[in-house]
Structures are given as structure tokens and as C-alpha cells.
């Protein structure tokens, strides 16, 4: 099996589009990681090797990039990723209560996934909506002015 076989035709088309925009292949590394993560939810060792092969760099070099960024997932995540802001304005406005509530209800802490694969809970630096703190994001959806009371309703929207 060559390493290239693990990237789908669709992924390769998207990555090649990014490569065409930059002066050398390697410069598309982050975009390539994002593309594969978009398709597969996370970047496994196998995917990483395949991307590295396509970019013509070593897997180690690509991994040093992948592990640098907070939102490249090198471990599987659940169907829905909860990013809870743990930065200063949310701290002042009570993010710890929100965290406590999520922990109690989902029985997971930061960095963990529910056994049914429904949620992964991650801490996240400032979501840039500090005037409406505390805030969290689930997948691409932003929720602000959080209260414990609203959390149930929010979580129920994700399966």
C-alpha cells in the first residue's frame, strides 16, 4: 500500500487547489490538515502520513505542525465538539459554573468524550465574544450569555 492511497480523490482535489495557491507544496500543510479533518473529524497517524506523502515532506515535520495548533485533532473526537471558553471575561462571568454543570451532566471532563461518542468537551481560549460571556461553541454554533438553565436546551439540540 502506498501512503497516497489513503487520501480520497475529493481530499486530493481540495488539497491540490490549496497547493496551487502557494509558492511551494509544503506551504499548504495547515490547509491540508484542515481539509482532512473536515472530512474525517480528526487526523489519525495514517492520515497524517498520507498528507505528508502528498506534500512531499516527512511525517514528523508535518506532525510538528499538526501538534502545534489547538484545533488540529490528533485523537478521535465525538460527533459534537464543545469548546468552552475558559478565558478571563468568561472566568469573571462564571465559566466555572458552566463547566461544573457540563461535567455533571455529561460525566466527562476537559479532553474527554462521552462513551456514546455524542460529545467531546474541550477548553478553549477566548471566543471573541467577551461582552456576552460566558460563551461556548458547539461545532460551528456559538452560544453566549450562558446560564446553567439554558445548557440543557442547548445540549438537547445535538445528537
Amino acid at each position: 500500500m502506498t501512503t497516497l492511497e489513503t487520501l480520497t480523490a475529493e481530499e486530493i482535489t481540495e488539497i491540490d487547489h490549496e497547493i496551487a495557491l502557494v509558492p511551494f507544496r509544503k506551504a499548504a500543510a495547515i490547509e491540508a490538515l484542515k481539509i482532512v479533518q473536515q472530512h474525517r473529524g480528526w487526523v489519525s497517524d495514517e492520515s497524517l502520513r498520507a498528507i505528508a506523502g502528498h506534500l512531499e515532506i516527512s511525517p514528523d515535520e508535518l506532525d510538528s505542525v499538526a501538534t502545534f495548533y489547538n484545533l488540529v485533532f490528533r485523537q478521535p473526537v465525538g460527533r459534537n465538539v464543545i469548546l468552552l471558553c475558559d478565558s478571563i471575561s468568561c472566568y469573571v462571568m462564571g465559566y466555572e459554573k458552566i463547566y461544573g454543570y457540563l461535567r455533571d451532566r455529561l460525566h466527562i471532563g476537559f479532553g474527554e468524550t462521552t462513551p456514546d461518542g455524542r460529545f467531546t468537551l474541550l477548553p478553549n481560549a477566548c471566543l471573541g465574544t467577551c461582552d456576552r460571556a460566558p460563551a461556548l461553541m458547539i461545532n460551528n454554533e456559538l452560544f453566549r450569555d450562558l446560564t446553567e438553565a439554558r445548557l440543557d436546551e442547548i445540549l438537547d439540540g445535538y445528537h
Binding site: 495557491l21 502557494v22 509558492p23 509544503k26 506551504a27 499548504a28 500543510a29 495547515i30 490547509e31 490538515l33 484542515k34 510538528s64 505542525v65 502545534f68 495548533y69 489547538n70 484545533l71 488540529v72 469548546l83 475558559d86 478565558s87 478571563i88 471575561s89 472566568y91 469573571v92 462571568m93 478553549n124 481560549a125 477566548c126 471566543l127 471573541g128 465574544t129 467577551c130 461582552d131 456576552r132 460571556a133 461553541m137 460551528n140 456559538l142
Partner: protein, 423 residues
């Protein structure tokens, strides 16, 4: 009071599309810049307006542009909008991008023309999904209308614009680290010199400016440097997007003349402290600025006055420390952030920030010793300016050193009572 940046922003209706924007005078400045002014003229006008960078550092924008080589053989130059905005407590650029995306794009095209760049990027933080959607749409509209692409307005000038979304790392907001991120590498900062104006993205001359900075450009071109200067109320030109988060009645953002006082911002615009909460201090411009306290309430929020009071205007978005929040917990939260976001390139920062964080955590838990305060003092010096590769570590020390100065008794209380008095 004039509010050029936000006059056309209202979240009660969808943001302006191209034709709405044109109806309010949009892209007139671009026409003027490209047809009636030359690159040198634009740079000079911006320099004379005394527009200082709104990303935190406060350097004269036109001056920065003037370092880009305009003679000789430079077929490729880049212009980049730093829309990373990951400083905790800072949320102003979101409003500008979501509220009026064409204003940013017009400002970028004029700026790119001034330095004769043919490729531009918006480096947007990943969390700004709505801004990404709106910017993408606005960029497409600008291409379709001939404001981007080949032969803009028939002048022979070409510019491509790309939207790049980050994958989450605070250090990407540092100008040279951002360049590395765009090159697909780890976002560690680069040595200066060479400055990016000479050797930036892919080794080519590059200008990086903040969103709010670019948004000012069309207005300066339309109305001139004197008009821009007359907008400011303190020692700085123009208006500023100020913001407040924390326990105030109305947290939010306001465009006000540069140099509004802290008191006016808190008491008038934010409606004062929330019921039952008192004011103890504030970080005037994001997580990496020194605390100002009650005695500073009449300080004008411009670059010079805030510096004279011992802090930095930074991004102009203020985080309030109220009298129900533990100052040690507050600073611990900040240092946790900085320790986590250290890029790890240089030892003092990589090792010193987690150490600082641990000490603060133990004090907060009631397990601290008085000697710890000396250790913290030591860190504020060893991680201070000049001892690390970039400004992240010194920035991290600003809230800490000022907290040790203004709230020392709170630290001592934790240690003496062997618990957090606030919990």
C-alpha cells in the same frame, strides 16, 4: 460626534451588501486613491493622519508602509490583514467584520495599492464563522464588481484577495508568527531584522495591519488627514472602538473619540458597575496590559496617557475586575492562558510561564508561602522586556506585576488564611 467606522453598522438588519455599501459612499475612496492619487500620496496622507496601528502596538501606520521598497525589482509583495484577535477580552474586530465587511476590503485594497502589493490575505481566527461567511461573500462581490482581480477600475492595477482561517493559536497574532503560519509552519516568531516590510511572507516585502486599522483607511482618503486628526480627543488621532467586558451594566463596544476617559467609558457607555458590584481595577486593553485602578479613572484612553499611567492602551477593550472576583484567581486565569499559548521557542517563556501559573494556583488554593511573592516578583523581571524572543512573555507579566502592586494584600490574605477568601 462622528463615528465613521460604525456609522453603517447595525445588527438589527443584515450587513451591507455591495450595493448598500456603494450607496453610502463605499468604494469612492478606492476610486480616488487609484485614479487621483498615487501610492506615495496615499502613504503620505496616511502617515500625516497619524493613524496608529489598532492591533495593540500603536505604531504610525503610514510610517510602517513607508519602509516597503518602492523602487527596484520587487515583482511580488504581500498585504495581510491580521484578523486573528485572540487576545482574551478583545472582541472589537468581530463587530467590524460582521457589521460592514466591505469597509475592511476597501481599506485593504487601497493599502495594497499604496505598497503595490498584488496578493492579499485576511488571516481570520477560526472561531469567527459568521465573519468568515460574510467576508467570503463580500470578497466575491468585490471581484464581480471589478474592485478586485485584474485591471481594477481600469487602472492596470491587479490584486488577489484570499481568506485564510487559522487553527487556533494565540501566537499567530504576532506579526512574524502569523507569516510562519501562512507558510504552513509552526507559528513561532521570527527574528527582526529583517523586518517583514523588507522580507516577510515567502521572503517578500509584506505589510501586516489590524482590521480596525484598515477600516480607517477609506475615511482618511475621503476626508483627509486633518479631518482624521480632529476626531481624536486626546493626544491621538481618530476614533477608537472601545469595549468593556465584566460586571458592568451594559458590556459592549462603542466607537468614541480617541482619548475618552476610563470613567466616561465605564460610567456613561457601559452604564456603570452591575448592581451589587464595585470597581476594583481594569485591564485597559486586553489580557496583556497592566491593571489600572480607581485612582486612574480619569486617565484618558489614548496611547500616551495610558502609558503614563503605567499600562498600555493595547486593543482598547477593557476587562473589569470587580469586588466580588478574586484578583489572584483572575491573574491565575490569565497566566494559565499565557502558559498554554507560549509557543515554546525560548526557554524563559516556555519554563517560566507554567512555573508562574503553578505558584498562582497554589496561592489561590491556600497552599502558598510568603516567599512565593518574591518568586513571582522575580518572574516579572526575568520574563520582562528584553529577556524573551517575543512580546508574549513580557505581555503576560504586565497584569501580574501590576496585580502584585495594587492587590498585594489579597495575595497575602490567601497565604495567611490558607484559603481563598473569595470562595
Amino acid at each position: 460626534m462622528e463615528t465613521p467606522l460604525t456609522r453603517h453598522i447595525s445588527f438589527d438588519r443584515p450587513p451591507y451588501n455591495l450595493s448598500d455599501y456603494e450607496k453610502t459612499g463605499g468604494y469612492q475612496a478606492l476610486r480616488k486613491a487609484l485614479t487621483a492619487m498615487g501610492p506615495a500620496d496615499i502613504t503620505k496622507t496616511v502617515q500625516e493622519s497619524d493613524l496608529k496601528g489598532r492591533g495593540g502596538a500603536g505604531f504610525n501606520t503610514g510610517m510602517k508602509w513607508s519602509f516597503v521598497p518602492m523602487t527596484g525589482d520587487h515583482p511580488i509583495k504581500y498585504l495581510i490583514c491580521n484578523a486573528d484577535e485572540m487576545e482574551p477580552g478583545t472582541f472589537k474586530d468581530r463587530m467590524l467584520m460582521e457589521g460592514n465587511p466591505h469597509q475592511l476590503i476597501e481599506g485593504m485594497i487601497i493599502s495594497a495599492f499604496a505598497i503595490q502589493a498584488n496578493i492579499s490575505y485576511i488571516f481570520l481566527r477560526w472561531a469567527y464563522k459568521k465573519a468568515a461567511r460574510l467576508l467570503r461573500h463580500a470578497i466575491d462581490e468585490a471581484y464581480a464588481a471589478g474592485y478586485l482581480g485584474k485591471n481594477i477600475l481600469g487602472t492596470g492595477y491587479n490584486l488577489e484577495m484570499y481568506l485564510h482561517t487559522g487553527v487556533g493559536r494565540y501566537i499567530c497574532g504576532e506579526e512574524t508568527a502569523l507569516l510562519n503560519a501562512l507558510e504552513g509552519k509552526r507559528a513561532t516568531p521570527r527574528t527582526k531584522p529583517p523586518f517583514p516590510q523588507i522580507s516577510g511572507l515567502f521572503g517578500k516585502p509584506t505589510i501586516v495591519n489590524n482590521v480596525e486599522t484598515f477600516c480607517n483607511i477609506p475615511h482618511i482618503i475621503n476626508n483627509g488627514p486633518d479631518w482624521f486628526k480632529s476626531l481624536g480627543g486626546g493626544s491621538d488621532a481618530g476614533t477608537k472602538i472601545y469595549g468593556i467586558s465584566g460586571r458592568v451594566k451594559r458590556p459592549g463596544l462603542w466607537e468614541l473619540p480617541m482619548g475618552v476617559t476610563m470613567r466616561e467609558l465605564i460610567e456613561v457607555h457601559a452604564g456603570g458597575m452591575a448592581n451589587g458590584y464595585g470597581f476594583r481595577g481594569a485591564l485597559p486593553g486586553g489580557a496583556s496590559t497592566d491593571f489600572l485602578v480607581k485612582e486612574h479613572l480619569d486617565v484618558k484612553l489614548d496611547f500616551k496617557s495610558v502609558a503614563a499611567a503605567g499600562s498600555r492602551l493595547g486593543t482598547g477593550t477593557m476587562i473589569i475586575l470587580d469586588d466580588h472576583t478574586c484578583p489572584v484567581g483572575f491573574v491565575h486565569n490569565l497566566e494559565h492562558f499565557f502558559a498554554q499559548e507560549s509557543c515554546g521557542w525560548c526557554t524563559p517563556c516556555r519554563e517560566g510561564l507554567p512555573w508562574t501559573e503553578k505558584i498562582l494556583l497554589s496561592i489561590e488554593r491556600g497552599e502558598g508561602r510568603l516567599e512565593d511573592l518574591q518568586l513571582l516578583d522575580m518572574h516579572t523581571r526575568f520574563l520582562g522586556p528584553g529577556n524573551t524572543f517575543c512580546a508574549l512573555a513580557p505581555g503576560a507579566m504586565e497584569p501580574l506585576q501590576s496585580a502584585l502592586k495594587y492587590f498585594r494584600e489579597d495575595f497575602e490574605k490567601h497565604i495567611n488564611q490558607k484559603k481563598c477568601p473569595w470562595r
